[in-house]
C-alpha cells in the first residue's frame, strides 16, 4: 500500500515537472511576443504622428516636436558598413591562418585567444580607450589632410566597431574553413596544386557560406552596438557630410537622449527608433542564422 502511494506521488511530481517545463517554454514565447508588443505600443504615438515619413525626414527637433530619423539611420548604416569593409580582409586572413595554417599547437592557441578576446572587453572600456587613444590620432590625421580636426566622428566609430565585430566573423569563418574535408584538400594536392591554390580553389569556395554567415551576423552586432559608438561618434544631429564628420547612430541617440526626453512624442519617437533597431537587427540575424544552418545541414 505504502509503496503504491509513493509511486502515485512520484507520478504527480512527474506531471508537475512536465508542466513546469511547458510553462517555462510558453513563458519564453510570451516574453518574446510581449517584447515586441510593448515596444510597438510605446512607439504608437510617434508612429501615428509621423508614420513612415519618420524614416525619410532629416529633422530632429524636440522643441517643435518634429522627429525624423534619417540622419541616424544613415549614420548607423554608414558606420556598420565601413566597419565591415575594414574588418573583412582581416577576418578572411584570420579564417585562413587559423583554419588552415595553424590549426593546433601553442602558437595557434595564442593567436586564437588574442584575436577573440577583444570581444570580451566591455564596449564602454573600448569607447574610453578610443576617446583617449584613437581620437587624438585621428585628429592628427585630419589636420594633415586639411579636414576639420574633430577627432570624433563616423570614421573613428567605424574603426572601433571593426575591432569589436572582427572576432565574430573571424571565428565563424575559421570554423567553416576547418570543416573542409581532408579528402578534398588531399585530392587538390594530388592534382599538383600549391597550398595557396588549394586554399583559393577548394577551401574558400567550400567555406563560402560560413564566411558569409559570419559577415552577416557581425553586421547584426555592428548595427546595435551602443556605448563605444556613442562615446566617439560626436553626437551631431544632422546628416554627416563625409565619413570624418561627427554623426549619430540610432543606438547612440537612444543612449544619449532617453533619460532627458520630456514629452510623450519625444519619448515615443525614441521608442520608435528602438523598434526600428529591433526589427532590423532581428531580420539581419535571422538571415545570418539561416545561412549558418544551411551550412551545418550540408554536412
Amino acid at each position: 500500500m505504502a509503496n503504491q502511494s509513493t509511486k502515485k506521488l512520484e507520478l504527480s511530481k512527474d506531471s508537475l515537472f512536465n508542466l513546469l517545463l511547458v510553462v517555462s517554454a510558453v513563458l519564453l514565447v510570451m516574453l518574446g511576443v510581449g517584447f515586441f508588443l510593448s515596444l510597438f505600443q510605446a512607439s504608437l504615438i510617434s508612429l501615428k504622428e509621423f508614420g513612415l515619413s519618420f524614416f525619410v525626414k532629416a529633422e530632429w527637433d524636440p522643441v517643435q516636436e518634429r522627429f525624423g530619423a534619417l540622419p541616424f539611420i544613415y549614420g548607423t548604416l554608414l558606420t556598420s558598413f565601413i566597419a565591415l569593409a575594414i574588418s573583412l580582409p582581416f577576418s578572411i586572413a584570420i579564417s585562413i591562418v587559423l583554419g588552415e595554417y595553424f590549426q593546433k599547437g601553442f602558437f595557434a592557441e595564442v593567436l586564437r585567444y588574442l584575436t577573440e578576446l577583444i570581444a570580451g572587453v566591455p564596449s564602454v572600456v573600448l569607447g574610453f580607450w578610443g576617446l583617449f587613444f584613437l581620437v587624438p590620432i585621428i585628429r592628427e590625421l585630419e589636420m594633415k589632410f586639411d579636414l576639420p580636426p574633430y577627432g570624433v566622428g563616423i570614421f573613428t566609430a567605424s574603426l572601433i566597431l571593426a575591432f569589436m565585430i572582427l572576432p565574430y566573423s573571424a571565428s565563424i569563418g575559421k570554423d567553416a574553413m576547418r570543416l573542409v574535408p581532408n579528402e578534398l584538400k588531399e585530392a587538390a594536392y594530388a592534382l599538383g596544386t600549391t597550398r595557396w591554390e588549394m586554399i583559393k580553389k577548394i577551401m574558400l569556395p567550400y567555406a563560402r557560406s560560413g564566411i558569409i554567415a559570419g559577415i552577416i551576423l557581425s553586421l547584426g552586432r555592428a548595427l546595435g552596438e551602443t556605448m563605444a559608438v556613442t562615446m566617439v561618434i560626436g553626437n551631431y544631429h544632422g546628416i554627416p557630410e563625409n565619413i570624418f564628420s561627427p554623426g549619430n547612430t540610432i543606438a547612440s541617440v537612444i543612449a544619449n537622449e532617453f533619460t532627458e526626453a520630456t514629452g510623450e512624442v519625444y519619448l515615443s519617437s525614441l521608442m520608435y527608433l528602438g523598434l526600428t533597431l529591433f526589427i532590423v537587427t532581428t531580420v539581419v540575424n535571422i538571415i545570418g542564422r539561416f545561412v549558418l544552418k544551411k551550412l551545418q545541414s550540408q554536412r
Binding site: D14, L16, F17, N18, L20, L21, V22, S24, A25, V26, L28, V29, L31, G32, S38, L39, A42, P89, F90, A93, I94, L111, Y113, L114, T115, L117, G120, V121, P122, S123, V124, V125, L126, G127, F128, W129, L131, F132, L166, A170, T194, R195, W196, L223, T226, M227, M231, A251, I254, F258, T259, L270, G274, L277, F278, T281, V284, N285, I286, R289
Partner: protein, 276 residues
C-alpha cells in the same frame, strides 16, 4: 626559375602575408590592454576598492558603490535567468520537435541578437515605468533578459550531447522522469551549463547601455533593489566623459578591474569548454 617554383614561392609569400595580417589584427586588443594597465594599475589600492567616491576636487575616494552595485545587479540577473533558462533549455532538448519548442527556440535566438540598448528600453517599460523610478531591479531584469538565451542555449546543447543510454538506463531502473533529468542528466551536463552561465556573467558585467535608463547610477552605497544603483560600467561611462582628470584616473582604475574580471571569466570558460 621554372613556373612551378614561382607558384611555390607565391604560395609561401601569401602565407607569410596572411599570418602577418593576423598578427596585426591582435594589435588593437594588446593596445587596449596596455593602455588600461598603464593608466589603471597605479590607481588601484585598498582605499580605491573599499571607499565611496569623494566630491570632485577632493583627493582619494574609491568605487565601492560601483563594485557592490555590479555584484547586486549580476545576482538579480542570475536569480531571474538561471532557473528559468535551465527549465526552458530542458524543454527544448527533451521535446525538441514540438511546435512550442520551435517557436521558443526562435524567440531565444532572436533575443540573443537584440541590441542590449533595446533590452534596456524593455526593462524601462516593464519595470521602471510601473514603479515610477529607476531601480536596481530594473537593471537586473535587463541583464537577466540578456543572459537568458545564453543559459537556454548552453543547457539545450549540452543535454543533447549526453548519450541516450544514460537517460534510458536511469528510466529502466524505475527512476521517475523528473529525477532522471534533475539527478542524472543535469549533473552530467553541469560543465556545459556552467560555461553558459559564466559566459553570461562575463557578458552582462560589462553591459552599460541597458543600465543607462534602468539602474541609472548612484554616487552612494545602496543595497535597496528598488532604488537606483551604481555599476562599474556606468561609473566608467560617467567618469570617462566628464571633464575632470581625477575622474579619468578613477575610470582607468575601474576599467582595469572590470576588464581583468571579464577576461579571466572568458579564459576560464574557454578552458572548461575545451577540456570537455
Amino acid at each position: 626559375m621554372t613556373k612551378y617554383e614561382l607558384r611555390i614561392i607565391k604560395s609561401k609569400v601569401i602565407s607569410v602575408i596572411l599570418t602577418f595580417i593576423t598578427i596585426v589584427s591582435t594589435f588593437p586588443f594588446l593596445l587596449v590592454l596596455y593602455f588600461i594597465m598603464k593608466n589603471g594599475i597605479s590607481v588601484i589600492n585598498w582605499e580605491f576598492l573599499t571607499s565611496l567616491p569623494k566630491p570632485v576636487g577632493e583627493p582619494g575616494g574609491g568605487i565601492l558603490n560601483a563594485i557592490i552595485g555590479t555584484a547586486i545587479l549580476v545576482t538579480i540577473a542570475l536569480i531571474l535567468s538561471v532557473p528559468f533558462g535551465i527549465l526552458a533549455g530542458i524543454y527544448l532538448a527533451e521535446r525538441s520537435e514540438t511546435k512550442i519548442a520551435f517557436i521558443s527556440r526562435l524567440v531565444s535566438e532572436i533575443l540573443q541578437g537584440v541590441p542590449s540598448i533595446v533590452i534596456g528600453i524593455i526593462a524601462y517599460l516593464w519595470v521602471v515605468k510601473p514603479i515610477g523610478y529607476f531601480s536596481a531591479l530594473s537593471g537586473g531584469v535587463a541583464l537577466g533578459i540578456i543572459m537568458l538565451p545564453l543559459v537556454i542555449k548552453s543547457t539545450e546543447e549540452i543535454l543533447k550531447l549526453i548519450p541516450h543510454e544514460l537517460k534510458e538506463a536511469s528510466l529502466a531502473l524505475g527512476v521517475p522522469y523528473y529525477k532522471t533529468i534533475l539527478k542524472v542528466m543535469i549533473p552530467a551536463g553541469l560543465s556545459g551549463i556552467l560555461t553558459g552561465v559564466l559566459t553570461g556573467i562575463a557578458r552582462i558585467a560589462g553591459e552599460t547601455a541597458p543600465l543607462l535608463f534602468t539602474a541609472f547610477g548612484n554616487p552612494f552605497l545602496s543595497f535597496n533593489i528598488l532604488k537606483p544603483i551604481s555599476a562599474l560600467p556606468l561609473l566608467i561611462f560617467t567618469y570617462a566623459i566628464s571633464p575632470y582628470e581625477n575622474w579619468w584616473a578613477k575610470a582607468w582604475g575601474a576599467s582595469c578591474i572590470l576588464v581583468f574580471f571579464v577576461l579571466s571569466l572568458n579564459i576560464i570558460t574557454r578552458l572548461i569548454s575545451t577540456r570537455r
